[in-house]
Symmetry: C2
Subunit: 148 residues, 2 copies
Amino acid sequence: MELKIGELAKRSGCLVETIRFYEKEGLLPHAARSQGNFRLYGEEHSERLQFIRHCRSLDMTLDEIRDLLKFRDVPQDNCSEVNLLLDKHIGHVADRITELKALEKQLKNLRGLCQTSEAGKDCGILQNLATTEGFEATNLGSHGGGCH
Amino acid sequence: MELKIGELAKRSGCLVETIRFYEKEGLLPHAARSQGNFRLYGEEHSERLQFIRHCRSLDMTLDEIRDLLKFRDVPQDNCSEVNLLLDKHIGHVADRITELKALEKQLKNLRGLCQTSEAGKDCGILQNLATTEGFEATNLGSHGGGCH
DNA sequence: TTAACATCCTGTAGCAGGTACAGAGTCAAG
DNA sequence: CTTGACTCTGTACCTGCTACAGGATGTTAA
């Protein structure tokens, strides 16, 4: 019943370091310790970690997860706040999709400037990238992770 | 003709610190210095920075940009490598769009579990997030920026 | 001339969300 | 009693910047 950190990591499919990181961040409560100062986890830690990993797999930030955990820890009479948080997050994702689609279009236009692969020194792509036209710092400064 | 770093920053729409950062990263060559040790830039720096910022606005990594700059510095007889790099990058973006769409779908499913906002303690969303079903660590471990 | 202020310099720390060590301690098996 | 697998704490690293601190330099007004 008592899991050491490596076993918990295996169960939840994440690294040992990640678990310690979540503890440090306050997402997981401090674990009990063995005589030799090893962390010992129970079923409730395992569930909570599962919850966190599931949220992360849905690309939520640790702050969003923190909020959800609060609702989990102290259930409210209604869950409209949970719904609100989720709706916001869905909004972020939808926005990012829109941005990336616009980006894809620009990149394909750019790629179209050189289909021949013979241009060499006069490569339209490199020339276009050196110009300032057609980009208004659209993507710059906006929050939003990359695609790598 | 000789620009100080602040003027170049204004021209290119980025911060002074960003320019120094690009220099440190080797994307921009070291600038000449004034008597008072101020960096002095010419037209070629300005163009090169424009190139970099344009690439960044297309969400390329600094490594990808480094590669493109190499082709710019030493033009080849053909530009098939430039095309290849661009195609790869378009692939990254397309992949990320696919991922985010799948994510959006999952989130909307999840959101559908609680339309009433009355469930309270039995909120289907919080319960579902605690389960391991329906997520195979899909999003975890993959390279790919978030949506925030 | 001198004071105030803008701009520049270097160097360092911080963001998210971990990952990857180093160097030391703990534990079970042979 | 040693080997090897695991754990501990603490720190540095990743990307692509951003934001200082603390000091030097340059420009303008009184």
